[in-house]
Each structure stands twice: as C-alpha cells, then as structure tokens.
C-alpha cells in the first residue's frame, strides 16, 4: 500500500476531513487507481471504524466524522468511478417505516453501507409499503431495509412484508430490519431475512444476504 493510501486510511479513521480531501486529490493526481483509493483507503478504513464501534472504542460522534469524511472523499472520486473497474457489492433501498420519524440509526446504517461500497437509496422517514414496493420495482435492489424505533411502529414491518408478498416483489429482494426495540426473534417471526443490532453489523449482514 502506498504512503498516500495509508495516509488517507488514517485520515478517514480519525475523521480528519481536510487531510483526507487533500490526500484523495493527490492520489488522483498521482494516478493511483480508483480501485485502490476506494478499497484500500476508504472502504478498509470504514470497516475498521465499524470494528471500533462494535468494540465500544468508537461512539456515534466518531462514527459520524469518519463517515462524513469518507462521503466527501467518495464525492471527489465520483467522476472517476464510472470509468474504473470498481464493482459495488450491491444496492440497498432503505427507510424508516410508516408512523415513525426517527432516523439517526437509519442514517448511520446508510453511511456504513456506503462506506462498504454499497449503492444506497434512502427513502427517508415515515415510508409506507406502497412506496417501498414502487421503489423496489424501480431501483431493483438486492436488499430492502426497514427501521423502526417504536414498539408501536414495529408491527408495520410485517405489513410491508405481507404487501411485498402480495405484490409479487418479495422473491427479488432480501429483507433486513433493525431499530432499537427490534430483535432477531421478531425478524424471524415476521419473515424477514435478517436482523442487525447496529450500523456496523449491517454491513456483514448485507454481504451475507447477497451471497446467500
């Protein structure tokens, strides 16, 4: 790994926006491959951020500044991505379910998925079954993800899955769910394909679901 990529990796890990941005520019100018910048610099750093969060060394603020640093670098790389050989691990359509306006956890999930190279279509908050189904048909993601923060909105996750079944869209996607009151037992009981307890576990879950 070149010194520049090491520097970029460290800057993302520490949420050092300025250093990360100048380093990405320099790496592009020095013709380091987009693949290497993305995977060895950004994705690898965000994966480490996930581990640090999982271990309790990082908290939400550290995860946020790393993710925002990564996003800025990703935008700088955007013009070069289409001409590169980089392949996204998959596409995820995500939203907080109808009746629920909470989005801190869901937004962290989006950032971690982007940080792992996924293409993410965020439908926002208070999303009903119809919108999920329309977007699944349009975006053709491999995964659809629902979040709920309240015990009173959790049951709507089952409504969406039932409507997905009826619409015929269910077989084409894997469903993963999460949110503070949600458990893996609940996920099983409503017929979801997977549950993740936090934003860091989501990445491995998504990869696992796509591989299965």
């Amino acid at each position: 790994m070149s010194d520049l990529i090491k520097k970029l990796h460290k800057a993302v890990l520490e949420g050092n926006l300025e250093v990360a941005q100048t380093t990405v520019q320099k790496a592009i100018e020095e013709n380091i491959s987009v693949d290497e910048i993305l995977n060895d610099g950004l994705v690898a750093a965000m994966s480490e951020v996930g581990c640090l969060f999982e271990n309790g060394d990082y908290f939400v603020p550290e995860m946020l500044i790393s993710a925002k640093t990564m996003q800025a670098c990703l935008s700088a790389l955007q013009p070069y991505l289409s001409s590169s050989t980089v392949k996204s691990p998959g596409k995820v359509v995500i939203g907080t379910v109808h009746g629920d306006l909470h989005d801190i956890g869901k937004n962290l999930v989006c950032m971690m998925l982007e940080g792992a190279g996924f293409e993410v279509k965020d439908l926002g908050i208070d999303v009903d079954a119809e919108k999920f189904i329309t977007q699944i048909k349009e975006e053709k993601p491999q995964i659809v993800a629902f979040s709920a923060m309240l015990t009173t909105t959790m049951p709507y996750m089952k409504t969406i899955i039932d409507e997905l079944n009826m619409s015929g869209a269910r077989p084409a996607v894997k469903v993963m769910i999460g949110g503070a009151p949600v458990t893996s037992q609940f996920a099983d009981s409503i017929g979801a394909d997977g549950y993740a307890a936090n934003a860091s576990q989501v990445v491995s879950l998504a990869k696992q679901l796509i591989a299965s």
Partner: protein, 376 residues
C-alpha cells in the same frame, strides 16, 4: 407510614413499610392517552373527558385521582405553566412549533422533531443570532403553581415531585441543532457545541430558579431529564461526556440543590451504566427509567454496584421488550423478581421503565399494579 414518609424513607436508603409506587408524577413515569383510556374502560371507570395532557409530544396524561387512589400511588406532580408571551404555533398536517422553535410533526401516536432552529448555525454568534430563546421569567409560567402544590403538600400526605419542564443540555442540543450535526460538532466545531450547551444550561437554570422559587419548599424530589444513552451504549464516549456534559449537569444540579432540599431525580433512557459514577458525582440521587432492555442495565448489577448511593425509580417492568408482550403470569413473575432484587434496603420506587405505551393492553397494566400492591 403515610405516602410521603414511605417515599422519603426509601429515597434515604432505608426500607419502608411498603415499596413506594408511582404513576403520573412526572412526564416520564406515566401513561399514554390511548393506554389510559383503555385502562379506564377496562376498570369500569367513567371516561376522563377532561383529560390533562402532561406532554403533548409523548401523548402522556396526568391520570385522574380515582385511578391514582386505586393503585395507591404515593406521589403527585407539581408543574410549571406555559408562558404568556408565546403561543404554540399550530400548522397544517398535525405539526406545531414550540417555544424553542422546534417544529414537531405527528406520526402515529407521537410527535417528533422535523425542524430545528440551529440547523444552519455555523459559529458561536449564531447561537443567539439565528434563534430566539425562551423567556424563563415570563409571569404566565407561575400562575397557580404554588397554590396547586400547596394543595398536595398541606392537605395530603403525598410526596410532591417537581416535574421535568426543560430540555436537558445534551438532548436539548441534539434537538435544537440536529443529532448528526451536534454529535459532529463535538469533534469538528467544539466551540459551537459548547455555546449551544451553555445557552441551554443558562435557560434551564433560570427556569428552575422560577419553578423552585414557587415550590422549592414544597417538593421532595426535582425531576430533570437528559437522554444520554442508546440501546447499546452511551451516545458519546465517557471521555467526551466528562468534557462536554458532566460539568454542565453538575452546575445545573448544584443550582437545584442550592434552591431546595429536594432530591435530584435524573431521567436518561438507554444504556447509561458507564456514566453512573459521574452522574452520582454530578449530584444525581435518583435514576430513572432504568431501561433494563438496554445494554449493561441489568438491575442486579445496578443495585449491587450503586444501590447504596443511588435510588432507582423505574425498571419495574421493561416497556420495550416485556410489558407489551408478556402473559399475565409472566408479568406477575417479573414484578415479584423486580421487588426481590430492588426493594431490600430501600432506594427503590416502583414504576415501569418509561411511560406505558399505547400498545400495552389494560389487563397487563392492571396485573402489574395489582401485583405490586399485593407484594410490596
């Protein structure tokens, strides 16, 4: 023992004749309107047509005396009124703007923040330039407040609680600035973060100055909230908490202690185990809601490690994972287990681990309270 003696004995870490029971003395130890209406119908009580809403956003009520009497509730609330200078701005689509200029929108049962007055703040100066802050000394706030508290403190034996009425510094900053922005500010713009926290603290102290000026000699507990925990951990690291939050909470609680002999009750949802020693040092004497379903919030550990210094007010039954789903028998067992762990040596007030939500059936609520009354 009467209610007040019972509660004070428990809060002074001695074992009272019975475990004190709460329902409705604060906006975080009460019941939502839907669950309340269902419960009244189930108990064949007449509908409460003039129901008193204690917190609009959480859709909670101050339950009526008949219900409090039935469940032998030992506490009654004192609360501040709204100001005269500001009227809540009602907007189309079930939205409103409050005194802090937070824009709330209703979805299902609750309101959540969708517009934040400090969203566009960039510098310290913006904190007072782009946002108009509440006027704590508006005379409307104290109308009838002392008289109502006197009714309870002189004519009844209930312990009076000064209810939560202002934003906690951390949670308030997250609301006013937006969670993502404020949590990012802690690293990238700490001066702005501190300026927001300081302004909230200033208003909080002034509001408590006003409130305790009215009821400081009549209340035995002062309730204040600041949600520091998530389901799995603290929002921010203990190091960050010590830098940004704890000194300000200490300032607030020192001020409260300077105005009243009442004990400081702090509400924080989520996993706050790692912050407890710091909270005790900051002056917290009572912890609520004891969210047992969050990480590291096992009540055996909490009681063992902190039970001598800290009283627990909550955790009677978990409202997130247990109360909405448990069988009546499980509820009975759970209440018994809680009392066995928490009651010895005092330092415990029974109430579920947060407001009873709309999805809890009335038979479950009644079973919980009937079991406590039988076993306490």
């Amino acid at each position: 023992m009467n209610s007040r003696e019972r509660a004070l004995t428990a809060l002074n870490h001695q074992e009272p004749d019975k475990v004190p029971v709460d329902l409705g003395s604060t906006i975080v130890t009460t019941i939502t309107r839907t669950a309340y209406d269902n419960l009244r119908a189930y108990l064949n009580m007449e509908p409460d047509t003039s129901v008193s809403i204690s917190h609009r956003q959480m859709d909670t009520v101050y339950p009526r005396e008949d219900l409090l009497t039935r469940y032998e509730v030992d506490f009654r609330p004192a609360y501040l009124q709204g100001p005269w200078y500001f009227k809540t701005q009602e907007l189309d689509g079930d939205m409103f703007i409050d005194e802090y200029q937070l824009k709330w929108k209703k979805a299902s049962y609750y309101y959540d923040v969708i517009g934040r007055p400090l969203d566009a703040a960039e510098s310290v100066g913006d904190v007072t330039r782009i946002m108009k802050w509440p006027d704590p000394y508006d005379p409307g706030r104290i109308q009838g407040v002392r008289e109502r508290a006197l009714e309870f403190s002189q004519k009844t034996n209930f312990l009076v609680v000064a209810d939560i009425m202002c934003l906690g510094p951390f949670e308030g900053a997250c609301f006013l600035r937006g969670y993502e922005k404020f949590l990012t500010d802690l690293h990238w713009n700490p001066a702005l973060a501190e300026a927001i926290l300081d302004k909230i603290l200033e208003i909080d102290i002034q509001l408590w100055d006003v409130f305790l000026g009215q009821v400081g000699d009549l209340v035995d507990v002062v309730a204040q909230g600041d949600d520091l925990g998530t389901q799995r951990s603290l929002y921010i690291s203990p190091k960050m908490l010590r830098r940004f939050i704890m000194p300000r909470l200490k300032k607030l609680y020192d001020f409260i202690h300077s105005k009243t002999k009442a004990k400081v009750f702090m509400h924080s949802c989520g996993s706050v185990y790692d912050a407890i020693p710091d909270l005790i040092e900051a002056g917290v004497e009572v912890l609520n809601p004891v969210q047992r379903s969050a990480a590291k919030m096992d009540i055996v550990t909490l009681k063992q490690e902190f039970g001598k210094e800290l009283s627990f007010w909550g955790g009677g039954i978990d409202v997130q994972q247990v109360l909405p789903y448990a069988t009546l028998q499980q509820i009975e067992e759970e209440v018994k287990k809680t009392l066995d762990i928490m009651a010895p040596g005092g330092g415990y007030v029974f109430v579920p681990s947060h407001n009873i939500q709309a999805d809890v059936t009335p038979d479950r609520i009644d079973k919980m309270y009937e079991t406590v009354l039988k076993l306490r």
